[in-house]
């Protein structure tokens, strides 16, 4: 069937609706510019909306992200496409671009869905829930997560068996299997790339046994277990559902490690691990928490004090790199490491291991500009061509970068970088009027 191509024009195209993209879009729209956010996921809010609490203030992440997300979705100057992708961007004139955007069907009429969740109850298909980082299951007809924006059901067509149960259960009859992909040609004057980062996949380090031993989880899985919308209402180890009492954190998993191709520091793992350790001390008062580290990098405002606070609460810090992890019959794990402090190789048993996985470049944006060269740096992040005087600038005039698309950073730095990208975009738009 012939797909209908729709046209529209905006001042700025923001690629990515996480906290950096959202902040940049808000800054622009509040100053009168028309913005389109293209978000690949079903909800805006990026990774931050899925976090438990944030360091070093221990603000509940959902509580500070939702109002921001709500403000973004309400702002009349901002249009948001979720479940959509930018296919390519062509520079048309000195100061205009044309973007091809693909909007994937949700198979739900967004305006009519009331998020009653009856479709979810009716759906017979259970698959892994990616928003809970595979800790639990979800249906093929589902609402991504409680605080998603838009909070609207979606059909995961890849896993749907087309049984029609959801259609029958839906009171406003808003499930529509006839929806198709929509293509848009969008005229824009400027682009902000806010495509964020990817988490390191620990399967790349086989000696840690992730994927093989059930009681090894990633830090994002622990983050979900600690979040207010957590799946289990307590902390459980996945192997047998036991409440753990001896937790280990393995820092620098996939960071500062040339053997897996990522020699740089991810900048956030020390701090989020220290935060999780503090939250665990609250959630499981009897548990021991040990953090195995190379160097603790608590460098931001209030971070060092936060680290000292964790030490004061009784979190164990052991300087040493984990060589190997093996599993005992009862599911417990033996960590073999060099205790630098005592200058000895040691083995210690834990009943759950959390791998503090690092920040890896998201290369999705690299191929968006077929006719221009969007330069990447040595680590595949977007290259900042004038990092000291204009950090948001890229190798293409009129294209700016915000947040972790240009390198690892924490939330405050992402917000500042988004402010910087939106300011540069504003002056670019005014100068090229």
């Amino acid at each position: 069937m012939q797909e209908q191509i729709k046209e529209a024009s905006y001042d700025v195209l923001v690629i990515g609706g996480g906290i950096a993209g959202g902040e940049a879009a808000l800054n622009l729209a509040n100053n009168g510019f028309k913005v389109l956010i293209i978000e690949k996921d079903l909800s805006i809010g990026g990774k931050m909306i899925l976090l438990s609490k944030v360091f070093p203030t221990l603000d509940c992440s959902a509580c500070i992200t939702t109002p921001k997300v709500s403000e973004i979705s309400r702002q009349p100057g901002i249009t948001i496409f979720t479940g959509s992708e930018v296919k390519k961007i062509i520079k048309k004139t000195e100061n205009s671009f044309e973007a091809e955007v693909l909007k994937n069907p949700r198979y739900v009429i967004v305006e009519e869905c009331t998020a009653c969740q009856l479709c979810e109850q009716a759906c017979p298909v259970v698959v892994k829930d990616e928003y809970q980082f595979n800790l639990v299951g979800r249906k093929a007809a589902f609402i991504p997560f409680t605080i998603a924006s838009p909070k609207v059901a979606a059909i995961d067509i890849g896993n749907c068996i087309l049984c029609g149960a959801c259609e029958k259960a839906c009171p406003p009859k808003c499930i529509d299997f006839t929806q198709e992909k929509e293509e848009y040609t969008i005229k824009i004057k400027s682009v902000i790339i806010a495509t964020g980062f990817k988490l390191f996949d620990p399967l790349m380090i086989p000696r840690y046994g992730f994927g093989l031993f059930k009681n090894i989880i990633t830090s994002m899985q622990m983050e979900r277990q600690l979040a207010p919308t957590r799946p289990f209402n307590t902390i459980l180890r996945p192997g047998d559902g036991k409440v753990p009492c001896k937790v280990a954190y393995v820092l620098c998993t996939g960071s500062r490690d040339a053997t897996i191709g990522n020699p740089v520091c991810s900048q956030i793992c020390c701090m989020y691990s220290i935060k999780q350790a503090q939250l665990l001390m609250g959630a499981l008062p009897m548990a021991d928490v040990t953090i195995y580290y190379l160097n603790i990098r608590s460098f931001g405002k209030g971070f060092e004090e936060f680290y000292e606070q964790a030490k004061g609460m009784g979190v164990n810090f052991i300087k040493g790199k984990i060589g190997r992890i093996s599993e005992k019959e009862n599911g417990n794990l033996i960590l073999r490491y060099e205790d630098i402090n005592e200058n000895k190789v040691k083995e210690t048993e834990h009943d759950i291991v959390v791998l503090s996985v690092g920040v890896i470049a998201n290369r999705d944006a690299a191929t968006l500009f077929p006719d221009e060269q969007l330069k990447l740096d040595a680590f595949n992040f977007i290259n900042q061509t004038d990092p000291l005087a204009s950090p948001a600038r890229t190798s293409i005039e009129g294209v700016f970068v915000a947040g972790t698309a240009s390198g690892p950073m924490d939330i405050p730095d992402s917000i500042l970088s988004a402010g910087s990208a939106s300011a540069e975009a504003m002056s670019y738009l005014i100068q090229n009027k």
Binding site: I64, S70, F299
Partner: protein
């Protein structure tokens, strides 16, 4: 009195409902007088619940709304906006905090936490019955911004605001712009020098007609507030005529008999009383330092451009917003701290940076050639005993960068890094790698076991119990000891005090919210950027400067500002002007006025924050705080009892 109230009790995921029986709270308040509907919700702040509230308010014509959730610091504005979208005046909304005050505070006592939550919600209901519709105070705002501090942050913010069409006043206390960056030589990542970066920014700045740069200028007072700050500045003259012949000036400098330590080089060299910072500085004109000038007249005789008749000038600047970019001071070690001011070969990292910049073929200090350099990290940061508990963030990377630069520029340099855990975060890690590969030696100790500096037979020895080699006691004979000093807040904080800017535990200026509002301050209209908010490298500084520029722009761009109407109001007939309220006010919002009959207090609407400090001190009860009247407070107390 409001009679049709909507009450929402939030689970906050589990933040509240884990400890407070949310449904019981709902049942306990739904029969309260005037409550039309009472609901519970998983996340009151979530988009879907906000929509539901708007619908409820509109369709039921509610005249008062209460949400019992988290602290009003987080969501008061969120739910006021919801109320407004429901076509109800937003001041008919009252916030009840049952998270910080009930669930989190009493997580060990669920029944008690629930009981307390019920009382808190009942008190909010009592208050909302008295709530009145209010109109925000509207004030006009001048489209100009005053930037205090002409370093990289200030210059970058000035360029941005100029692009956006604002009149910009860039006020620098020193005689030259560029701040700390102009003192640095090659910079990490680009190998551009600090001077080149400053030159680039200054050339950009100088092209713009709507930027006025004031050097040698200090802000001495402010009598305005957001929308119209009225700054008084004192401009100290250079005592050099504007258009002048550089060659003759050099002769004048040579003729000056005064020699004083040169601050620009962190006192490792000296300069004359008539001086340059460096060739090509901005503005490109020397200055006479009258504090040290003996008025001998030697320069005047040689050079006609010297002009002692120039006078100090006081000028008034009006600006809609003030952007602070006052930077930092490098930490000054105490006498004896790792041998500082005790042994003659102990310097700070900024001093070494200047030495490298000023030396050509060999690195010499006090006539001696330097080969072994020992860097002692975390001096003035992460202090166990002292006040500076924080990490200064830039120093690890900076020290390693300097060590590499020294090694590349001079022959036979050996670098020994006595550190407490290297923090080259992010991509800066590559530098640490590079330095290790170049053969630099890293030795590490914990905070409670710092390295020790001693002197034996004219040799300076640094000892450490190195944890990287099983706590072996290792020692290095150092030709030069470099104290890697951190960033501390400016010693002279007079301009911060002038605006009553609050400081954090680390004594740097404090933002409103580290994550969501990192460049705003509680003083309306004043933004903060760069290292005056906390240690930052250049890239982070520029990001924060541009963010602050965008925020300052939003205060002035529309020409009109809306301010909170919840402020103190004075009943002139009762006021006897005893001055007690003015003394109690932390914001200088109370002024005396007089008419034919008497003197009385007047509130400045754009400065008053509605904090209520003036109310209890008034002996004649002449002050009322809008939205916190006696009847409201008394009814809340009754509900809490």
């Amino acid at each position: 009195m409001n009679k049709k109230l909507g009450v929402y009790i939030c689970h906050c995921g589990g933040n509240i409902s884990d400890y407070v029986d949310v449904e019981k709270v709902r049942q306990s308040v739904e029969k309260e007088e005037g409550v039309f509907l009472a609901k519970t919700t998983m996340f009151a702040c979530g988009d879907s619940n906000q929509k539901e509230m708007v619908e409820d308010i509109k369709s039921n014509h509610l005249d008062g709304v209460v949400v019992a959730s988290c602290s009003p610091k987080l969501h008061l504005l969120t739910f006021r906006a919801v109320t407004e979208r429901g076509d109800l005046n937003k001041y008919n909304y009252v916030h009840a905090n049952i998270r910080e005050q009930a669930s989190w505070a009493h997580s060990d006592d669920k029944a008690g936490a629930t009981e307390k939550a019920i009382h808190i919600v009942k008190a909010a209901i009592a208050k909302v019955r008295y709530a009145e519709s209010l109109v925000p105070i509207k004030i006009s705002s001048i489209k100009s911004v005053a930037i205090i501090g002409g370093g990289v942050a200030g210059m970058k913010a000035a360029i941005e605001l100029s692009d956006l069409g604002c009149q910009v006043y860039l006020i620098e206390r020193e005689y030259f712009v560029g701040g700390r960056v102009s003192q640095w030589d090659t910079l990490f990542t680009t190998n551009e020098t600090g001077k080149e970066l400053v030159t680039r920014l200054y050339n950009d700045l100088a092209k713009r007609k709507n930027i006025t740069v004031y050097t040698g200028t200090e802000v001495i007072s402010n009598s305005g507030s957001i929308g119209d700050f009225k700054l008084k500045v004192k401009i100290t003259p250079r005592y050099i005529k504007e258009k002048c012949n550089q060659g003759e000036l050099q002769n004048a400098i040579d003729a000056c008999p005064v020699e004083v330590p040169d601050d620009f080089n962190f006192n490792i060299t000296s300069r004359k009383a008539i001086y340059h910072n460096f060739p090509g500085e901005y503005p490109q004109s020397p200055v006479i330092d009258t504090k040290n000038c003996t008025r001998c007249g030697a320069c005047e005789k040689i050079c006609e451009n010297v002009d002692f008749s120039q006078k100090e000038e006081i000028k008034e600047i009006n600006a809609g917003s003030v952007l602070m970019a006052t930077g930092f001071d490098p930490y000054t070690p105490a006498d004896g701290e790792f041998g500082y001011n005790l042994y003659n070969n102990v310097v700070t990292l900024p001093q070494l940076k200047r030495m490298i910049d000023l030396s050509d073929n060999t690195l010499k200090f006090k006539g001696r050639e330097i080969k072994n350099i020992v860097y002692i990290y975390c001096v003035g940061s992460r202090q166990v005993e002292g006040e500076n508990k924080y990490c200064s963030r830039y120093c690890c990377t900076s020290a390693i960068h300097v060590a590499i630069t020294a090694k590349k520029k001079f022959r036979d340099i050996y670098n020994f890094h006595f550190n407490r855990g290297i923090r080259t975060y992010g991509k800066q890690e590559v530098l640490y790698d590079e330095s290790s590969k170049m053969g630099d030696i890293y030795l590490q100790s914990y905070e409670d076991d710092p390295p020790v500096v001693t002197s034996q037979n004219g040799k300076t020895i640094v000892k450490i119990n190195d944890i990287l080699t099983g706590k072996k006691e290792l020692e290095v004979e150092a030709d030069l000891i470099v104290l890697v000093t951190g960033m501390v807040p400016r010693k002279d904080n007079s301009v911060g005090s002038l605006f009553k800017l609050p400081k954090g535990r680390d004594k740097f200026f404090n933002e409103i919210h580290m994550k969501l509002r990192p460049v705003e301050t509680v003083i309306d209209g004043i933004t903060i950027s760069g290292a005056c908010q906390g240690p930052k490298n250049i890239m982070e500084t520029v990001n924060s400067a541009l963010s602050a520029a965008a925020k300052s722009y939003s205060y002035v761009s529309k020409g009109v500002l809306e301010l909170e109407p919840i402020i103190a109001r004075i009943d002139k007939s009762l006021c006897t002007w005893c001055n007690a309220c003015s003394k109690a006010c932390p914001f200088d919002a109370v002024k005396m006025e007089e008419d034919k009959t008497k003197a009385y207090a007047v509130i400045n609407n754009s400065v008053c924050k509605g904090c209520g400090m003036c109310l209890p001190v008034c002996p004649t009860d002449a002050i009322n705080l809008i939205a916190y009247s006696n009847s409201e407070i008394e009814s809340m107390i009754d509900a809490l009892a």
